[in-house]
């Protein structure tokens, strides 16, 4: 089967090369027969590559470990879903995914341009096929997906997939990310075709506009899903860590976003024509660079899951493309001169130029921060820097120490430096849609900008004051300070991120106000003529003028994301502590109580997992009366004392009664969960216990120690004269021997009974022997973060538990502590996190809608502005922006 795969991959290479030759020759010689044949050939290549993909998928799902790739990235215990996603878990599969998606994209392009035999489209096709050919060559000669083992049939079982990747989000993040990269080939091909054929009007932009938007939306989706994965899987509480590969994927996004905006200027004003060709080439190069960085170990990174032999290929490819594009651009430089000039800085085109500059500035900062550690590693670079430092020291007299190690920059550096650029861009996002092209802002526009700006300022003032008051009150409450000194502490601790946060709220609100105001006014104006419903009118507007109203919608999504970033900027509450059962942790307005830790084994996933149960309780809120009544009515309970909620203290008639209740509770909560009863010896008053799930102990042997310790803890609480625990070396059997008959009966009774028990955790009060402190069950919100252990992988992975809220997320990660019954808990309050995901949904939803609505990916015949011109007189209003 693998030989067949090798044959098909090779056939695909030969066919692609042939089609590329046909396409090129057809385009150059203007030979219609060759062009038509190449057009068919593109579809043939696509189908052939689909067959190749099916073969690899088949090898994965049927565990054909004679295939090296299958043996390296899957095993027999993996769930079927992850077997499918193992397709893109490694380099070879990802490369095949690239080839398949690019050939499918080429076929789709061919389909929407059916019958187009122009020299221009011939050039577009040739560029796309040549790009495909490069990856085909790479796949066949450097990284073959159907490689087999030289001397054997392959191992009996594969090595499995990195558990970090076994997450539904990680399963879909790579295809989006890669498809986004791949899709930028199309706009690049259109640009190159325009340069080659000399069709230098704006038609290349209009025909590739939807493809450009598609690539951008896919890339954005890839980044968002990657961020969400980092948030729920990595356990450090953030979504973006400025990891080199995150940065590498962010770079084409920055230039691609600049491109989306600057192309509009060329269509409307005939300006920025060289710039657009430059930007699209830059974006394409950066997608290749990002792939190369992901797959190489040039910079050590979380994503470098494999070592690669592809580095030289990528370097050469990048160089060839850069040189070719540069030469073409130089050749057409004169012909690409702007047709008009910017008349004023207060026009849309000027703002778009500013937008481009800022995006490129951000790009440069991120690129610099990513590559600097690599450059400064080299002794020659260090020597050069030290020479400069020495010179500076001589001139200024400063005693700067020489550089001895590589310069590294952390996430704080990126946040500090990129945030102001991001805020400036956000400001442009608010202003841009207000200010019209060509004529620039007149009085009405200025008034609109001022009004919306003031409204945003007012709203921000309210938000900032409310937030400040909330923090001050909480501090004064928590530390028992008068509010004045709490306010002083609060103000004294305000820092630059807080200022960024406030600015983010201001500008994001402004963006939303501008977009909503313009949409509402346009809807009202159109309804005055047509009388259609509001929703229908909004849809018509979006359809007729997607640039303007779709842009508004996407901007609102971006603004929501920025509101979330503002929340992240003031994030303060994070605690890392080791807790034992019953211990609590104060976080924000909540008390988090650790109820316990236990192990489970997942047959489907093939992993053992330590689950910590954490109860979240709004601090000080009393336990509901119904629950208290239930506890009070328990046999033997004489009265309820107030503990620290959610704790309740049960008072019994005697110490013996309390002890018996405690034994009963222990049997029903701890023993029932962690053990199975092997034998109940009533004559000797012994309980023989074995671990509930022996499989877990094979994966996590030290869990047995915890189980023993649980019993010892019980013995210590009840008294060693009454209960003893025995275990034999090498035997997973534990014996509880009880001297006291009452305690034994309570324990045995607890093991016998089934059904609800109103107590989640009980402990004997050491100072007052007739009292038992309990935490009622079924109250509060239960969070259950896990640590998973996979037999084949050394390091465990975290599964955090997140309680998502409108204002903040409660984020809890936990790992079994080094102490036997403890768990080390990381808990934090993440303000406005859900807004990021909501904003992303808006952004991506409208992104995809704008790509596929109406004519879809078919080339636009008429510029959108033509429709606008007919609508404009109808929309009588001060804002003539579009």
């Amino acid at each position: 089967m693998q030989v067949f795969g090798q044959f098909l991959v090779f056939a695909s290479l030969v066919l692609t090369a042939f089609v590329a030759a046909l396409s090129l020759a057809g385009a150059i010689r203007r030979h219609p027969r060759w062009v038509r044949a190449a057009s068919e050939g593109v579809a043939a290549v696509a189908w052939l590559n689909v067959a190749v993909a099916l073969l690899l998928t088949h090898a994965l799902v049927t565990h054909d470990f004679s295939n090296r790739y299958v043996a390296s990235y899957s095993d027999t215990t993996m769930p079927a879903f992850y077997l499918l996603t193992a397709f893109w878990a490694g380099e070879k599969g990802a490369l095949l995914f690239w080839v398949v998606s690019l050939s499918l994209l080429a076929a789709a392009l061919e389909r929407v341009h059916r019958g187009n035999e122009s020299a221009f489209f011939g050039a577009v096709r040739s560029v796309v096929i040549l790009a495909l050919l490069f990856f085909d060559v790479l796949m066949v000669f450097a990284s073959h997906p159907f490689e087999t083992f030289l001397t054997s049939e392959g191992p009996a079982d594969g090595s499995g997939m990195n558990p970090l990747l076994q997450n539904p989000l990680m399963a879909i993040h790579p295809p989006f990310q890669l498809a986004g990269f791949v899709a930028y080939t199309v706009p690049f091909a259109f640009s190159l075709a325009a340069l080659i054929t000399g069709r230098l009007d704006d038609s290349w932009i209009r025909e590739s506009r939807r493809w450009n938007l598609l690539a951008w939306t896919l890339l954005t989706a890839g980044l968002v899903i990657g961020g969400l994965w980092a948030y729920v899987e990595l356990g450090w509480g953030g979504f973006w860590g400025w990891d080199p590969v995150e940065n590498a994927a962010f770079l084409p996004w920055l230039s691609g976003t600049a491109l989306l905006h600057s192309t509009a200027v060329e269509v409307r004003r005939g300006m920025l024509r060289r710039w657009n060709h430059f930007l699209v080439a830059l974006t394409f190069l950066l997608t290749i660079f990002a792939t190369f960085l992901t797959r190489s170990q040039l910079i050590s990174s979380l994503h470098a899951f494999s070592n690669s032999v592809l580095t030289p290929f990528f370097m050469d490819y990048l160089a060839v493309i850069a040189l070719a594009t540069g030469a073409l651009l130089a050749w057409r430089w004169g012909a690409l001169a702007p047709r008009e000039r910017i008349r004023s800085l207060w026009t849309r085109e000027a703002l778009v130029v500013a937008n481009s500059i800022l995006f490129l500035l951000a790009l440069f900062i991120v690129l610099w921060g990513t590559l600097l550690p690599k450059f400064s590693e080299s002794p020659r670079v260090q020597d050069a820097i030290n020479a400069a430092i020495g010179l500076w020291n001589q001139v200024s007299g400063a005693g700067l120490p020489p550089l001895r190690t590589a310069i590294t920059v952390g996430p704080e550096w990126f946040n500090r430096v990129v945030a102001p650029v991001g805020l400036l861009i956000l400001g442009l996002t608010a202003l841009g849609p207000l200010v019209p092209f060509r004529t620039g802002g007149r009085e009405a526009v200025n008034r609109a900008a001022l009004r919306t700006g003031l409204a945003a300022l007012g709203a921000t003032g309210v938000v900032v004051l409310a937030y400040g008051a909330f923090r001050v009150l909480r501090t004064s409450e928590a530390l028992d300070l008068p509010w004045t000194s709490a306010a002083e502490t609060f103000l004294g601790r305000l820092s630059l991120p807080a200022a960024y946060g406030a600015a983010g709220v201001l500008l994001a609100t402004w963006v939303i106000l501008v977009a909503v105001r313009d949409t509402i006014r346009s809807v009202a104006a159109r309804r005055a003529v047509t009388g259609a419903s509001r929703l229908r009118t909004a849809w018509t507007l979006l359809r007729d003028n997607p640039r303007r109203y779709g842009g508004h919608a996407v901007h609102v999504g971006v603004a929501l994301c920025f509101l979330s970033f503002s929340g992240a900027a003031v994030r303060e509450e994070r605690k890392d502590v080791v807790l034992t059962p019953g211990e609590r942790l104060a976080l924000g307005g909540e008390d988090l109580v650790l109820l316990g830790t236990h192990e489970t084994y997942s047959d489907a996933g093939g992993f053992a997992s330590s689950v910590s149960e954490v109860l979240a309780w709004p601090r000080g809120r009393p336990v509901p009366e119904l629950v208290r009544a239930m506890l009070g009515g328990w046999p033997g309970v004489q009265a309820l004392d107030n503990g620290d909620p959610p704790e309740v203290v049960l008072r019994f008639g005697s110490a013996g009664e309390a002890r018996r209740f405690f034994a009963n509770a222990f049997a029903r909560t701890v023993v029932a969960r962690d053990f199975q009863v092997v034998r109940l010896d009533r004559a000797r008053r012994e309980v023989h216990l074995a671990p509930a799930q022996p499989e877990t102990l094979q994966v996590v042997p030290r869990a047995f120690h915890r189980l023993t310790e649980e019993l010892r803890e019980f013995v210590r609480a009840v008294g060693e004269d009454l209960v003893t625990v025995r275990s034999r070396r090498g035997d997973p059997l534990l014996v509880l021997a009880v001297a006291d008959e009452g305690v034994f009966e309570a324990l045995a009774g607890g093991l016998d009974t089934r059904g609800a028990f109103p107590v989640a955790l009980a402990s004997l009060d050491a100072n007052a022997p007739d009292r038992v402190r309990v935490i009622p069950s079924g109250i509060g919100r239960l969070l259950a973060p896990e640590t998973r252990f996979y037999p084949k992988f050394e390091s465990p992975t975290t599964e955090v538990d997140i309680e998502t809220g409108l204002l903040y997320d409660l984020y809890v990660a936990a790992a079994p502590g080094s102490g036997t019954r403890s768990a080390s808990v990381t808990a934090m309050v993440n303000p406005l996190m859900s807004w990021l995901w909501a904003g992303s949904v808006v952004l991506l939803g409208f992104g995809f809608l704008l790509v596929f609505a109406g004519r879809g990916l078919r080339p636009e015949r008429k510029p959108a502005s033509a429709v606008e011109e007919t609508v404009r007189p109808v929309i009588a209003g001060e804002s003539r922006a579009s």
Partner: protein
């Protein structure tokens, strides 16, 4: 289970290959077509 999977994949791969071959046939046809002209 395994035979069923095999069958599904064999059919799907065969379909994709047939489509590819069909396109190759059309490609060669187009290359030839017009030679008479």
């Amino acid at each position: 289970m395994s035979t069923f999977l095999d069958l599904v994949f064999v059919l799907a791969t065969a379909a994709a290959l047939t489509a590819a071959l069909l396109r190759v046939a059309r490609m060669t046809h187009r290359l030839g077509a017009g030679r008479e002209r």
